[in-house]
């Protein structure tokens, strides 16, 4: 072996060992721009993410590669099994879910609004009446002082995975079961259903209001920001983002964006923001 070859060999050996040493350091650095995936509540996906995702991408350059809105329950499952980075729940986290340890952050509150047709003379309803209508005890508008026509209660699909139904069941029915109701897949369509069915009554996020429907106060309290924020309004629910672990990289950036004034302003357009 000539001295020159030896020199090269020596440099190689040293270089390789230094590389081994530094490998750990390199892995950590660098800004993470990994695309994110979302699964869960359609209330969050359709009303917040449609605007928040482009704004977030513009600000950070991080994209969402998947947005699927198939309900809070599915969102929780998908987040826990790792198929979604961020999940969305439009209800409280259940005791069962809490046991699984999940990172969660409330980004706002939704007032679940009771909708009737604009031509419906009803201008307020009590929790007991709501419970009666949706459990099937009250079936005619005349029982509430209206015309003698049957009431058509509308809900999202009662597949056990819809946050809106769960929240309503807990808060308005006080955990009684739904009676005979018309089931519609998406919350937006629940409200739109009333447009063509004047005897229908439905509950959904205020954001889904149409021109031919009106939201009515419950127990005399209207779903205004102040009433939702103070907890005075009966049918309010938190909007929660979850992640399996303490968010890092692009997921962390998204959580931060949603709690930033920009993100909260987007939430406040249709819901009640969490920070003021």
């Amino acid at each position: 072996m000539t001295p020159n070859r030896l020199m090269v060999l020596g440099i190689l050996v040293v270089g390789v060992s230094l590389l081994v040493a530094c490998k750990g350091e390199e892995e950590k650095g660098n800004e993470d721009k990994t695309p994110l995936t979302y699964q869960g509540s359609s209330t969050i996906a359709d009303n917040i993410l449609t605007e928040a995702v482009p704004a977030f991408e513009k600000e950070t350059g991080i994209k969402f590669s998947k947005l699927s809105s198939d309900g809070s329950g599915e969102g929780f499952k998908a987040t826990m099994n790792g198929s979604a980075d961020i999940g969305g729940l439009s209800r409280r986290i259940t005791e069962e879910e809490k046991k699984q340890e999940i990172y969660h952050q409330i980004i706002g509150y939704d007032a679940l609004t009771v909708f009737v047709h604009v031509d419906n003379p009803l201008d307020g309803i009590t929790r007991t009446q709501l419970s009666g209508i949706f459990t099937g005890a009250i079936t005619n508008w005349s029982e509430l002082g209206g015309a003698d026509v049957p009431i058509e209660p509308v809900t999202e699909l009662l597949d056990g995975m819809r946050a809106t139904n769960e929240v309503f069941e807990h808060l308005a029915l006080e955990d009684a079961k739904f009676g005979k109701v018309t089931q519609v897949d998406r919350p937006r369509d629940c409200v739109a259903y009333i447009d063509t069915h004047p005897n229908a009554i439905a509950f959904a996020a205020l954001a889904f209001k149409t021109d031919k429907t009106k939201g009515i106060p419950v127990d005399g309290i209207a779903p205004t920001n102040v009433n939702v924020q103070s907890g005075a309004y009966l049918l309010s629910r938190p909007l929660i983002l979850i992640s399996k672990e303490v968010p890092k990289g692009s997921a962390k950036a998204f959580f931060e964006f949603m709690l930033s004034p920009k993100g909260q302003a987007i939430v406040a357009k249709k819901f009640v923001s969490v920070s003021q």
């Binding site: 001295p3 081994v20 409280r92 009966l234 709690l259 920070s275």
Partner: protein, 320 residues
């Protein structure tokens, strides 16, 4: 190799010793630094301690909130006016305690997410507190127990659910962050171990390579001189070209040796030519002697001839 060429052997050995010492020292130092650094991953341990404190305060807060809700319910349902008054005072005390716990938590918490959750919880708590200290007693004063009960079981229950949910989320998230910190400490420890192993291997490898080069820079020219000496010992004094010899002792030895061999060669060839000359002179000398001898022989013969001629020509002379 080149850089070591002009170093003295003494200095090379010194350098070698220093290198080995430096390597040992460096490896020990690097390992100590990383061990210390991980221990000072201290800031991670501090974070964990701070979060544990947050969890403790939040848990106390949650307990107080639960207690105040229960007390409020008791106050509404009790038929005894004196007990009601006492429970009212209790609620007052509890409320103040909750307020101070919120203050305490806000000081302990530093990240935005938790602060947002806390602020939200506190806002709902303020509404709860107002209802508990004003609206509920007012309803009771009106002897409207039904209205008070509705407040407690309706609005207040929802508020309670909301802020206790937020407080719980603060606890749950802090717990997850502790777990995360613990995991990252584990990662930092294994990273440091890897790094220190890397530095050790790298340092040792570097020293081995340099030591090898130094050794080679000593032994190679020595071998060259040795081979040269062997040739000279075998009587071969022919001129040789030695490519590299540095300015160290061995380099100088090599040059001197070459010079010596050169001088030896000159000397030996001088001796050879002198002896040759000596040979030829002695040859000439012997020739001359030979001729002289021949001359003498001839003279002797001539004298003998002259004597015999004289003897033939005259009677023998009497010689005295």
């Amino acid at each position: 190799m080149i850089i070591f060429r002009d170093l003295k052997v003494r200095n090379k050995l010194l350098l070698l010793t220093l290198l080995v010492l430096g390597c040992v020292g460096g490896v020990i130092g690097a390992n100590l630094y990383f061990l210390d650094h991980v221990k000072v991953g201290g800031d991670m341990y501090e974070q964990i301690a701070a979060r544990k404190e947050t969890i403790a305060t939040a848990a106390l807060l949650a307990a107080d909130l639960g207690e105040i809700r229960g007390t409020l319910f008791d106050m509404v349902v009790t038929p005894s006016a004196s007990r009601r008054a006492r429970l009212g005072d209790e609620i007052q005390t509890l409320s103040e305690r909750v307020d101070s716990r919120f203050d305490q938590l806000r000081e302990q918490v530093s990240d935005e997410h938790t602060l947002a959750a806390l602020e939200d919880a506190e806002r709902t708590w303020k509404a709860f507190s107002t209802t508990a200290s004003r609206d509920v007693p007012e309803a009771l004063a009106r002897r409207d127990q039904q209205a008070a009960l509705e407040l407690v079981q309706g609005m207040q229950k929802r508020r309670y659910e909301r802020f206790s949910g937020q407080v719980e989320s603060v606890i749950a998230n802090a717990r997850m962050k502790i777990k995360e910190s613990e995991d990252s400490i584990a990662v930092a420890v294994s990273d440091s171990i890897r790094l220190s192993i890397g530095i050790s291997i790298g340092g040792v490898a570097l020293v081995v390579v340099i030591a090898f080069l130094i050794t080679l820079s000593i032994s190679r020219p020595l071998n060259v001189v040795m081979r040269l000496a062997q040739r000279v010992a075998a009587g071969d004094l022919r001129e040789v070209k030695i490519d590299a010899h540095g300015q160290d002792e061995i380099g100088r030895l090599t040059s001197m040796f070459q010079l010596m061999v050169g001088n030896l060669r000159t000397l030996v060839s001088g001796i050879a030519s002198t002896s040759l000359q000596l040979g030829s002179s002695s040859g000439q000398l012997s020739t001359t002697a030979h001729r002289q001898q021949e001359g003498a022989t001839e003279q002797l013969a001539a004298i003998e001839e002259t004597r015999s001629a004289l003897e033939r020509a005259s009677p023998p002379l009497r010689w005295r």
